[in-house]
Symmetry: D2
Subunit: 262 residues, 4 copies
Amino acid sequence: MDTSAEPPTVGYGDLVLIYIDERRRHVVRVEEGRVFGSDKGTLRLDDLVGLPYGSRVKLSTGVEALVLQPLLDDLLSLAYRRKSQVIYPKDLGFILYIADIAPGKRVLEAGIGSGFLASVVASRLRPDGRLYSYEVREDMASIARRNLETAGLLDMVEIKVADVRRGVEERNLDACLLDMPDPWNALESVYEALKPSARLVVFVPTINQVERTVVGLERHGGFVDIHAVELMLREYQVKEGSVRPATRMIGHTGYIVYARRV
Amino acid sequence: MDTSAEPPTVGYGDLVLIYIDERRRHVVRVEEGRVFGSDKGTLRLDDLVGLPYGSRVKLSTGVEALVLQPLLDDLLSLAYRRKSQVIYPKDLGFILYIADIAPGKRVLEAGIGSGFLASVVASRLRPDGRLYSYEVREDMASIARRNLETAGLLDMVEIKVADVRRGVEERNLDACLLDMPDPWNALESVYEALKPSARLVVFVPTINQVERTVVGLERHGGFVDIHAVELMLREYQVKEGSVRPATRMIGHTGYIVYARRV
Amino acid sequence: MDTSAEPPTVGYGDLVLIYIDERRRHVVRVEEGRVFGSDKGTLRLDDLVGLPYGSRVKLSTGVEALVLQPLLDDLLSLAYRRKSQVIYPKDLGFILYIADIAPGKRVLEAGIGSGFLASVVASRLRPDGRLYSYEVREDMASIARRNLETAGLLDMVEIKVADVRRGVEERNLDACLLDMPDPWNALESVYEALKPSARLVVFVPTINQVERTVVGLERHGGFVDIHAVELMLREYQVKEGSVRPATRMIGHTGYIVYARRV
Amino acid sequence: MDTSAEPPTVGYGDLVLIYIDERRRHVVRVEEGRVFGSDKGTLRLDDLVGLPYGSRVKLSTGVEALVLQPLLDDLLSLAYRRKSQVIYPKDLGFILYIADIAPGKRVLEAGIGSGFLASVVASRLRPDGRLYSYEVREDMASIARRNLETAGLLDMVEIKVADVRRGVEERNLDACLLDMPDPWNALESVYEALKPSARLVVFVPTINQVERTVVGLERHGGFVDIHAVELMLREYQVKEGSVRPATRMIGHTGYIVYARRV
């Protein structure tokens, strides 16, 4: 029988998810004297310390809220700064799967953008994997760095302000992820960095970029098993006796191209 | 500069991916004296030993093939026995993401089926996480066990031939994944096993099951942030100057319901 | 050689489409002394009389606009009052096709709602077909009547404020269209009204209604060739070198069930 | 009260739909002495004469079949010869709607292919509309002619073996439909043939053709209100308590571009 871990409790320095309702969810850090405020009322964060996660608390107005431990997913959507277009869960998940991101893997990424993909990948590489993130823009690198720090993931990532198209220093990597406007210009760098059999995964918003990437991969000759796909996610509204997809949906985020280095 | 690992080479006992073309891909274990055969020719596996992965070899007919290191994805589709409906990559990836599967996590699954989801999850938990898989059918458990062994993942999984609906022994788990016909009957077990804030993810093929699961979650009271989604994957055919989605696509695999324990 | 019709010109009493840009399009009736106003300027409608359709005119501000002849599609979206959920073009088109709506056909509809489907159907039945529209709510019937009048289609439609579930007077009809909450309660009426071989087409928003309708059709025994489908429409953003689906899309409008009376 | 038409009965020369089950449906012409044969048994067609449509008959083996009046839809899928890629119902319906195909309209089409779109359109133009179909290939024109004759629609269509890109003779047409590889080369012809305000609708299989068509329309200057869309149709499998989309679906047929002549 496994009864291991004690139920975790809130401590100073923790990021907590204050969940009021589906639309009111906030991630805040518990600091001495700090007060959380929302349109539904306020909450003294000192009062949370020592409470088990999952507890119900009352805001100043009497409205109830839940105190939850944020998942990485919550941090991304609620605590991260975003300065660039971000990749959505449906695409992040598929990338995790198809690039075979797992503990101990050494992975290349370019560019890092706001660090969403980097965070999701880095969190899956512990304890001894590593993410090498190339980014040409210093300002983006710096936002990504701050975001990774928020999530406690900065130690897993080596951010390099450099142009992946001009070559990379790493060799025999387990996977490579490109989220940049012209991935076809980075194929030789990727080829040199990846170990044979490993996957390259590319994320691009337009079909023209898909075309150029696939044509580039075929011309390069060092890649096989080339695929281009698109994922659509539909959310459902479920009430007893009345189930239907939501009226609005995200019609497009981007395409995913993947291939294998030989 | 990082130049770490040597390019890996084929050794006896390895599973290798012999890639002839898009449709002819085989995973075989390299054993002394063994000969690989396909409609395009044969290959003595002894000849592969010592070759770097990514090498091109010639079959008996002169046809070329690539010798690649299989990813888990290849094992699932080419080396695993399947006796039940399996979950597809688009859904596997989303589950990995939304359940926050990562190194060190302790996860519950029911049922194990042919072990596809178990493998994908287990491979992401090293070194010190653990997957607890409940399965009512001994025959399925046994197929799953063999498949996990093929992938070298059996040590990460504790398979229990038991009914999750009657309760589970684990507590304070980080995630729970249900792939069973009546997940609504397992909600109390899940509630007791999950730590507060953690996610339950359910995979079901029909919309009626989505309805009953969501209604069950709402009635139970111990879950919030309940969502039901569906993912569609479209593959593209890309030739220069002629890009279009493939004519045929998978129209449906299943729905994913997820929620959070409070 | 066919040079038939003269290019049509604007006359008093005409409905005209004033097209300023993609988002500013208005249908107005040309009446003596009337002035059209928009946030981009005004236009004296008297000045349009005698102009060929397709002309460019200038608003008071110098901004250009096009004077077009509205299609039925424009009337529906710009000139019709709507008091109920309406059916979208993607669904209207499929209904037209699958119900084999064509000149001379005699068609049953229930309920009429705001008259969108009625208009689209009625406009396809000239000169000697007929649409029989049952509607239980007098207020809806009256909105529909006004809308059909706007489009000049009222002469093709016989609106009956009556409950289709209690039976209909018509026999040997060519098609029947149901857009009501409980179509399964109208199946016997439909069976009696339709001629053998003809199609029933049902539009419903939830999957539960699809289930009850299909099960109802199977139990009734007087229908074969039963199908349930759903259409999704995706709009593309096309710029040279940058083509992608629009970020937002309509995720759901409704399901279409169709079958054949035997 | 309307009791009009007598229920129709089978006569010599009629095309009848013999419906055995979902997969066994055949359209045959009733001729003296002719015998219909299928893997489920045979049927003397003389025996059908005088039966009301909708009747159940027995094949030689005792298996039951239904004798139905074919809709145009049945003729297209069961009686038409096809020598080219055809347009599917979901797209045909949307084209009917968006091009405002209705009785009395004069419509241009190029090319005619196997005549599927021509048939669907022509059947909606009676009594005094007309379809002008340009087709460069005499062999296609001839298959289309035969198909239209089968459906009794040949009198509504004027087939011209000519290249639409070199100009058309008609003027002031109500709609124009292009189903050809390079629609951007026919825009000037279309512009001259269409009356102001009327819609051009283009059907193309690849996204590259969408791009060139939209860019061509914008450059031409004689078109506004330009849209590019795609329709996806999903079929559902409905059993009581178990509703789900079909596993397989058509992932792609083509894109529809539409615009308005000014």
